[in-house]
Amino acid sequence: MDYILNILGPLIAGTGVTLKMFLVTIVLAVPLGLALALARISRFGVLSGAVNGYIWLMRGTPLMLQMLFIYFALPFVPVIGVRLPDFPAAVVAFVLNYAAYFAEIFRAGIQSIDRGQYEGAKVLGLTYAQTMRRIVLPQMVKRILPPISNETITLVKDTSLIYVLAMNDLLRAARGIVQRDFTTTPFVVAAAFYLAMTLVLTWGFQYLEKRYAVYDE
């Protein structure tokens, strides 16, 4: 027990890194994903095709490679090349990657809304933008909660990938102590931390689902 208290410090610091990574990614990837989804379903073939290719590339290659690319190769790319420090580089990679996943979820959500909703809005005089903002997107939110919840829980654990850029997230902090002290206790504690984070997220999404349950469809 004393031992657990001793190692709590680095693990909590690691949890901080994990949470920071998680929150920043969510806050940025959700709006970007929404924009991508809207572009994907837009009538401009070129835009829609480009976004489609982007999503394929992002979902088709490992996030770790994307992160290494942005960290090491991006500085040498002409024009857009920029040398990012580790945390921003990881954030950019995570946001670009997760936005692709979110975009697919949003797209499916938007396309699941009945055509009658668009027609109902159109005959009332709403523009496309108004229809999206006031009618379609609010209804979409309810439908995408389950897949978004899944993706979000996956993200919590995915953040541990940032170890390749030498950052000390929760999992890596635990591994560090395991190596130092030659005991697996830190893993058990880390697992408990992850479970706690997942639990909070699960509750949060259950609350949202309940809130949106006031109207059925």
Partner: protein, 259 residues
């Protein structure tokens, strides 16, 4: 053709052609409708009734023909047979003169009854909540649903949903109301409430174009009845006449089957 000094027709549709892929669904449909008129459109399934209605308010784009709403040109066809629509903002303004009620209501499930009704006046017309809420409440009283103000659509019966849909359309103060089989998704028992509301509108001299299977309603309320079949208007005559002795054998066959 339309003379600006005369009172323009509410709807003037001429020679409307509409194709879906290779299939010609409307083969030159024409209709002129005056203020306060109530017209019922009847005809077998697939005859193009819904498509015609949807062409009038730009839910479908016509391939050929001319549409004028209260004297304003929505679409016209030039001498070379190319069909032109008015600019987008004009189209939106012109179409707002027509309210539409769908077979499946198309209420917004995430909004309460009251919110459904005030959404468009606020978003589209820029009205203030305080202005429109009393109007909406008045409309809900009229259709007998004031008590359901804060219910969500899913909690309503079909007949109630359809009356909310009517109130929602009326809140935009249209000059014309289009109905596409407003009662055919309802249980027979619930049909009555909606028909009563429509009768009441007709009594207030609302201009109404109603696609319907309710022969009783067509007979009693409509001034003219239009029988469509295979993308054409087969007969268009005053209701009493058409029901009493249909001229065309197709009309007769259809009416025999229905009654």
């Amino acid at each position: 053709m339309s003379n600006s000094s005369a009172i323009p027709a509410m709807i003037r549709a001429e020679n409307i052609h509409k194709r879906f892929g290779a299939v010609e669904v409307l083969k030159g449909v024409s209709l002129t409708m005056d203020k306060g008129e109530v017209i019922a459109v009847i005809g077998p399934s697939g005859s193009g009734k819904s498509t015609f209605l949807r062409c009038l308010n730009h839910l479908e784009v016509i391939n050929r023909g001319h549409i004028e709403i209260e004297g304003e040109v929505l679409a016209s066809t030039d001498s070379e047979g190319l069909c032109h629509y008015a600019p987008e903002t004009d189209v939106r303004r012109i179409c707002r003169k027509m309210g539409m009620v769908f077979q499946h209501f198309n209420l917004f499930p995430h909004l309460t009854v009251l919110q459904n009704i005030i959404e468009a006046p606020i978003t589209v017309k820029g009205m203030k909540r305080e202005e429109i809420v009393p109007v909406a409440e008045e409309l809900l009283r009229k259709v007998g649903l004031f008590a359901k103000c804060d219910s969500y659509p899913a909690r309503l019966s079909g007949g109630q949903k359809q009356r909310v849909a009517i109130a929602r359309a009326l809140a935009m103060e249209p000059d014309i109301m289009l109905f596409d089989e407003p009662t055919s998704a309802l249980d027979p028992e619930l049909t009555g409430e909606v028909l009563r509301t429509m009768r009441q509108l007709a009594e207030e001299h609302m201009t109404m174009l109603v696609v319907t299977h309710e022969m009783g309603f067509a007979r009693e309320v409509a001034g003219r009845v239009i029988f469509m079949d295979q993308g054409e208007i087969v007969e268009a005559r005053p209701a009493a006449e058409l029901f009493a002795k249909p001229e065309h054998p197709r009309t007769k066959a259809f009416l025999d089957n229905m009654l």
